[in-house]
C-alpha cells in the first residue's frame, strides 16, 4: 500500500503543478499540455513517455486496490460477529473513510479521464485546446461539475491525510517525535494538494480564468 501510494502521490504533486500553469495563460498551458506528449523525444517516439507513465500509474493503482481489497477481506474475516453496540471510531475521520473514500476516488478518476483526457464527457472535448476544455468544463452554469470535483478532491485530501502518515509508519517510522512530524507532514501535504487542485476550477468559476 505504502509503495504504490507514494508513486501515486508523486504523480499527484506533478499533476497539480502542471494544472497551475493555467494561470500563465492559454498559449503557455496548451504548449505545456502538448509538450507532455513529447517528453523523451527524440529518444522516444511521440507520446511514448506518456504511455510508459500511464502504464506505471495503472499498475500502481491496480496493486494499491488489490492490497486494499486483501486488507478489507482479512478485516471482515477477522470479525465475523459484529458488535451490537459500536462506539463512533476514536481514530481520525480520515482513517475510517479510507475504503469508501478510495472507491469514490476511483470513480472520480474514471470520470476525470473521460472528461479531460479523452474528452468524451467534456462540453468542448477538443484535444488541441486543453485550456478551452478546462474553461468550458468549470463554466458557472455547470456548477454541479465543480461541486463533484470539489467533493472528490476533498476526499483525496482525507485519503492522503491518513494514507501519507500510514505510509511513513509502514516503512518503519518508529519514534513518538517522528509520529508527530509524520502526522503534521501528511496534513500539510493533504491541505496543499487540495488547495492546489481546487484553485483551478474556482478560478474558472469566478471568471479569473476564461
Amino acid at each position: 500500500m505504502a509503495v504504490t501510494g507514494i508513486l501515486l502521490v508523486l504523480f499527484l504533486i506533478v499533476h497539480m503543478l502542471g494544472n497551475l500553469k493555467i494561470f500563465t495563460g492559454e498559449t503557455s498551458f496548451d504548449h505545456y499540455a502538448h509538450w507532455l506528449r513529447d517528453i523523451g523525444t527524440p529518444l522516444l517516439p511521440h507520446t511514448w513517455y506518456l504511455w510508459i507513465q500511464r502504464t506505471v500509474l495503472t499498475v500502481a493503482v491496480v496493486a494499491h486496490i488489490v492490497a486494499a481489497t486483501v486488507l478489507a477481506r482479512r478485516a471482515r474475516a477477522a470479525r465475523p460477529v459484529k458488535y451490537a453496540h459500536r462506539k463512533k471510531v476514536r481514530g481520525s475521520y480520515a482513517a475510517r473513510t479510507m475504503r469508501w473514500g478510495g472507491v469514490i476516488i476511483l470513480l472520480f478518476v474514471i470520470y476525470h479521464i473521460l472528461d479531460l483526457t479523452t474528452g468524451h464527457l467534456n462540453p468542448q472535448g477538443d484535444a488541441s485546446n486543453p485550456y478551452g476544455n478546462v474553461v468550458a468544463d468549470f463554466a458557472p452554469e455547470r456548477w454541479y461539475v465543480t461541486l463533484f470535483y470539489t467533493l472528490a478532491i476533498v476526499t483525496v485530501g482525507f485519503h492522503l491525510r491518513h494514507g501519507a502518515f500510514s505510509a511513513f509508519r509502514s516503512l518503519g517510522q518508529q519514534t513518538p517525535r517522528g509520529e508527530r512530524r509524520a502526522r503534521a507532514g501528511a496534513l500539510v501535504l493533504a491541505v496543499a494538494l487540495c488547495a492546489g487542485y481546487l484553485v483551478v476550477p474556482f478560478a474558472v468559476l469566478t471568471g479569473l480564468v476564461s
Partner: protein
C-alpha cells in the same frame, strides 16, 4: 444506582448467542464493574438461573484476564483502566449498559463473555522469548542498556495481553500486542541474537491465527489499559523490513 444491563449470553461455542436484558438495582457507585457483575450473578444464582460467565483474576489491573466491551468501549469509558479497575461512578443512575465479549475470529467465545485468547499464546510461542541459559538472576549492571531503550522496552513490557487492542481494532488486528511483545526484546541487548527471525515468526503466527491486518487506524492505543503507544507498531515494521531484506541468516540452524 439502578441500572439496566444488556449482556451477551451464549451457552457455548456452538450456541448462536443473544443480548439479554437484566435490571440491577442498588448498585453502589464505589463498586468495581466486576463487583457489580458479581452482585447480578448472586441474584441470578438465588433465582435458579445460569450466572453470567466472565473472565477475571487479580482484579488489580495487572493480570490481563478481564476484558469486556462496555458500551462499545474495550474495558469501558475510562482510559488506561482495565474493566476490574473501572468503578460504577463512571456511569449514571438509570443508564443502560451494553456488555459484550471481545469480537474476533481469533478469539472464539467459550461462554457468555469469556473468549479463548490462545491465539496470543501462539504468537508468543513463535518468538516472544529469548533463548538463553537461565539460572540465578545475573548482576543487573553487567549488561549496560541505554536509558531511552530501557524506558521504551519497559513501556512495551507493560502489555498484559488482555486483547483490548484486537477488540477495538476496526480490522480485528493484533498488531499492537505483537509489536509490544516484540519490541520489549528487540530494544534490549539480550533480544538481539534472534531479533530478525523473531519478527518474521511472530508476524506469521499473528496472520495465521486469523487476525486482520494493521492499517494504522489508531484505535488500539486509546483502548489499551496500559497505554502502549502506537509507534510501537512502527518499530515492528522497521524490524520486519530489515528482516525481509537481510533474510533470516543470523540464527544458527535457521
Amino acid at each position: 444506582m439502578n441500572l439496566t444491563l444488556r449482556i451477551w449470553r451464549q451457552k457455548g461455542p456452538e450456541d448462536k448467542g443473544r443480548m439479554v436484558t437484566y435490571p440491577v438495582d442498588d448498585v453502589s457507585p464505589d463498586m468495581s464493574f466486576l463487583e457489580m457483575l458479581d452482585v447480578l450473578n448472586e441474584r441470578l444464582i438465588l433465582a435458579g438461573e445460569d450466572p453470567v460467565a466472565f473472565d477475571h483474576d487479580c482484579r488489580e489491573g495487572i493480570c490481563g484476564m478481564c476484558g469486556l466491551m462496555i458500551n462499545g468501549d474495550a474495558h469501558g469509558p475510562q482510559r488506561g483502566t482495565t474493566a476490574c479497575q473501572l468503578h460504577m461512578r463512571q456511569f449514571t443512575d438509570g443508564e443502560t449498559i451494553d456488555i459484550e465479549p471481545w469480537r474476533a475470529s481469533a478469539f472464539p467465545v467459550i461462554k457468555d463473555l469469556v473468549v479463548n485468547r490462545g491465539a496470543f499464546d501462539k504468537i508468543i510461542a513463535a518468538g516472544g522469548y529469548i533463548t538463553a541459559p537461565t539460572g540465578s538472576a545475573p548482576e543487573a549492571h553487567s549488561t549496560p542498556v541505554a536509558k531511552a531503550n530501557a524506558d521504551a522496552a519497559f513501556e512495551s513490557a507493560a502489555c498484559i495481553g488482555c486483547g483490548a487492542c484486537v477488540a477495538a481494532c476496526p480490522n480485528g488486528s493484533g498488531m499492537l500486542f505483537t509489536a509490544a511483545k516484540l519490541t520489549q526484546l528487540s530494544l534490549l541487548p539480550q533480544g538481539q541474537p534472534e531479533r530478525y527471525t523473531r519478527v518474521i515468526g511472530m508476524v506469521d503466527a499473528h496472520d495465521e491465527a486469523g487476525f486482520g491486518g494493521c492499517t494504522n487506524a489508531g484505535e488500539c492505543t486509546p483502548a489499551c489499559p496500559k497505554g502502549i503507544p502506537l509507534n510501537t507498531i512502527g518499530r515492528l515494521n522497521r524490524d520486519y523490513l530489515a528482516a525481509t531484506t537481510k533474510g533470516a541468516g543470523n540464527t544458527p540452524g535457521a
